[in-house]
């Protein structure tokens, strides 16, 4: 009996010890800084430490600090450099972390649960906002909001500015002008100039004729491989799927829906068939092909068409394809009136500020955001190194040298109607994933098109209900 008592007493002590430890964690924001300091200085002495993360730890007690969880991996390194520049200039600590593709939601969830949660994070639009709006600080009085050209680029709910777009992007079918012109000059070419290439039927003719004469043209296929590796399938399950949704919304005059009908699914099938049957590889191979593979095929001049956006320029440039040979076509799916269709333009990158962060950290974050869009260093990096077109008025003199961006400007000048980004209204990640899987299995021949329909139409209703039930 005495043993049991002693054991109890000791476990009480243990519990109390654990309790005090836990207690000091939650009590004040100075505590983590204090407990971090000895660890980091000792770490520097005994183990290789990442210097950029360690150095500013001492100054963080005075003001706030910034932790940005970035969504766009293409620009991961540039953000780290920009953050370092800001720290150098102001002494404010800025950490940037980038989530791997397809893992942003799970990374954000894991990071938000930590005491050092991101102070600055991203949502992809209204649907993404729905799960995080409790964490969104109202930015209506902020400098960065003041710099925004129009409210179209903000996510505003009940007068609260919860998200601000920081980049406007465009996608379509990137093409190689040199090879395409070569094709136009051949006898077998039915289509003779880029001006005639303004609808799905023409695109299909061109693609199939290129594919049939690929050896003559010195390419391996009309389209790059439609890589469906989980890191890359967003090109089709999200971006390509935008077109049938866009036309359905347009016909009905709506901006979102709880149940999609899939009236343009046949068109979706046609363009998907065109992609997979006139590509550099067999459809059975695409499950392991990545966007990187497609980019290198295009960059090495092995394919003429490559569906992607302005952000792909960094991967293409400095290879076999010269800048002046880069063009971008709208994605034609055979809808009526598509001769006037432009490229797909919009944003799925909205900055949000974590309202549950320490007030000093919130202020530091807002300051950092303002610096990014107002300072020379920030504007220089965003426009020229990251190649962004931004919705901010401060960027008038900073237009990127990206030829794909210029292609978009030409379409706008010619009076074509840009296709809006409706995939931000897709009900959930799960919907996209299921659609992607169905698309892949259809392409491989291990599934049929009905499964795509089911995933698209029925999946929408189920996922919409699930997402909005909470």
């Amino acid at each position: 009996m005495r043993n049991v008592k002693r054991w109890l007493a000791l476990s009480m002590v243990a519990a109390m010890a654990a309790g005090t430890l836990a207690g000091c964690g939650g009590s004040s924001s100075a505590a983590p800084a204090k407990s971090d300091a000895p660890a980091s200085s000792a770490a520097e002495a005994s183990a290789p430490a990442e210097s950029e993360a360690e150095a500013p730890a001492d100054t963080s007690a005075e003001g706030g600090k910034v932790y940005y969880l970035n969504f766009k991996p293409e620009q991961a390194d540039q953000w780290v450099e920009l953050a370092a520049k800001y720290t150098e200039e102001t002494g404010v600590q800025v950490d940037v972390q980038t989530a791997a593709s397809g893992t942003y939601e799970s990374t954000l969830k894991a990071e938000m649960a930590k005491t050092e949660a991101p102070t600055m994070f991203q949502v992809n639009g209204p649907v993404g906002l729905a799960s995080w709006k409790d964490y969104c600080y109202d930015m209506s009085g902020s400098k960065v909001y003041g710099d925004l050209a129009s409210d179209d680029y903000a996510l505003i709910e009940d007068g609260k500015v919860e998200g601000i777009a920081y980049v406007i992007e465009t996608y379509g079918i990137i093409y190689n002008k040199k090879i395409l012109n070569d094709y136009f000059s051949k006898d077998y070419a039915t289509i003779k100039s880029i001006d005639e290439l303004n609808n799905f039927a023409a695109l299909k003719t061109v693609a199939e004729e290129i594919q049939a004469n690929k050896d003559d043209l010195g390419v391996e296929g009309a389209f790059t491989s439609a890589g469906m590796d989980s890191s890359s399938d967003w090109r089709f399950k999200t971006h390509l799927a935008n077109l049938p949704i866009y036309y359905e919304y347009k016909d009905k005059g709506i901006g979102s829906t709880d149940a999609i009908e899939g009236t343009y699914l046949d068109n979706y099938k046609n363009i998907w068939d065109l992609y997979i049957n006139n590509a550099t590889c067999e459809p059975s191979m695409i499950s392991s092909k990545t966007g990187e593979d497609a980019a290198s095929e295009f960059a090495l001049g092995e394919a003429v068409f490559y569906q992607n956006g302005t952000w792909a320029y960094n991967d293409i440039k400095d290879n076999e394809v010269a800048d002046e040979d880069l063009g971008m076509l709208p994605i034609y799916i055979g809808a009526t009136g598509e001769e006037n269709q432009g490229l797909c333009t919009g944003s799925e990158n909205y900055w949000c500020v974590n309202s549950k962060a320490d007030p000093a950290d919130i202020q530091a974050t807002l300051d950092f955001m303002a610096w990014v869009v107002e300072s020379d260093a920030g504007r220089e990096t965003l426009a020229n190194e990251m190649g962004f077109v931004t919705p901010f008025t401060t960027f008038d003199e900073y237009l990127p040298a990206n030829p794909l961006v210029q292609a978009n400007a030409e379409y706008t000048k010619a009076g074509k109607t840009a296709v809006s980004w409706n995939f931000t209204t897709m009900p959930s990640e799960e919907w996209k994933n299921k659609l992607g899987s169905a698309l892949l299995e259809y392409a491989q021949g291990t599934g049929n098109w009905d499964a795509v329909k089911t995933a698209f139409v029925d999946g929408w209703a189920t996922e919409y209900a699930a997402a909005n039930a909470q």
Binding site: R6, L10, A14, A17, A18, E105, S106, K109, A110, M112, A113, S131, D229, S230, E282, S284, M285, S287, S288, K289, S428, E429, E430, K434, S437, A438, L440, E441, Q444, T446, A466, A467, Q470
Partner: protein
């Protein structure tokens, strides 16, 4: 003496127990509790009874991954043990270079699952590409890809254990059997296998639990593609938990079921094989 030691509880046991509480007991109990809750973080947990457990079977992905995992485990347990035993038998024959071969076969164990996954992804996709197929073409390819990877990794480990078992058999026993006119298969069946039963027990146990808990290799090699068809239990739980908003509780409930399954298997297997050892 016991009394003298007893007073030293705080020095001998307390540090381990504190860490054990933080690293195991507390998360375990909290995990069981959360499986009955709806939550996005620990602080907003709401008790909802068995709803999470019901929800698990509303979709068939968990059942699918369970079947996939069971099949995978059966195949790997059989293949690994048979191969490891066969190689061990050959390598104890005492021909030239056995030590080098043993070293080579054991090596893959020291390489992490994530690394192994990417190494084999390159090799297997390279081979399959010649037939216009890929690892993620269908679950069948992913399944056998994982089996091959696991064989490569674990055969050496089990082989080492079997070699030790075989070397412990007294040479006279086999000599005596030979003199009695026993054929090689008879010696194998009646002398060697009963004598290495302890090794068989431990190897079966290790391969069983390794098969059920496989995560890193699965994540790196196929990541569940296509359509979650090659997703094993551990990865399914991880994806449910971190991949979908609103499914945290369901993920935790799946983990509890996973724990129960693994515990039952460990107990049953332990009882079966140890009873066999006792008999002879």
């Amino acid at each position: 003496m016991e009394k003298a030691i007893k007073r030293y509880f705080p020095i001998f046991v307390l540090p381990t127990m504190l860490a054990f509480t933080i690293g195991f007991i507390a998360p375990f109990l909290l995990g069981v509790y959360l499986s009955f809750c709806k939550f996005t973080t620990v602080t907003d947990a709401k008790f909802i009874g068995l709803a999470n457990y019901v929800k698990i079977f509303a979709e068939n992905d968990f059942t699918h991954s369970l079947i996939f995992t069971v099949l995978f485990t059966i195949v790997t347990v059989l293949l690994i043990n048979v191969l490891a035993f066969a190689v061990a038998m050959l390598l104890t024959k005492g021909f030239k270079g056995t030590n080098v071969f043993r070293t080579v076969f054991f090596m893959p164990n020291l390489i992490g699952g994530i690394i192994l996954g990417y190494v084999w992804q390159l090799l297997l996709n390279g081979i399959l590409a010649m037939f216009d197929r890929t690892l993620t073409y269908s679950a069948t390819y992913g399944f056998w890809g994982l089996v091959i990877l696991t064989l490569w990794q674990q055969v050496g480990y089990m082989m080492v254990i079997y070699i030790a078992g075989i070397q412990n058999i007294p040479g006279e026993l086999i000599e005596a059997a030979k003199i009695d006119g026993a054929t090689s298969p008879q010696i194998l069946k009646n002398v060697i296998i009963p004598m290495v039963m302890p090794s068989i027990t431990i190897c079966t146990f290790l391969t069983l639990t390794n098969g059920f808990k496989l995560f890193d290799q699965n994540l790196a090699l196929t990541n569940g593609a296509p359509s979650k068809a090659s997703e094993m239990l551990a990865l399914n739980i991880y994806n449910t938990f971190y991949g979908r908003t609103g499914y945290e509780g369901v993920g935790q409930a799946k983990a509890v079921i996973f724990f129960i399954i693994v515990t039952i298997i460990a107990m049953v297997q332990n009882r079966l094989t140890t009873s066999k050892e006792v008999q002879q």
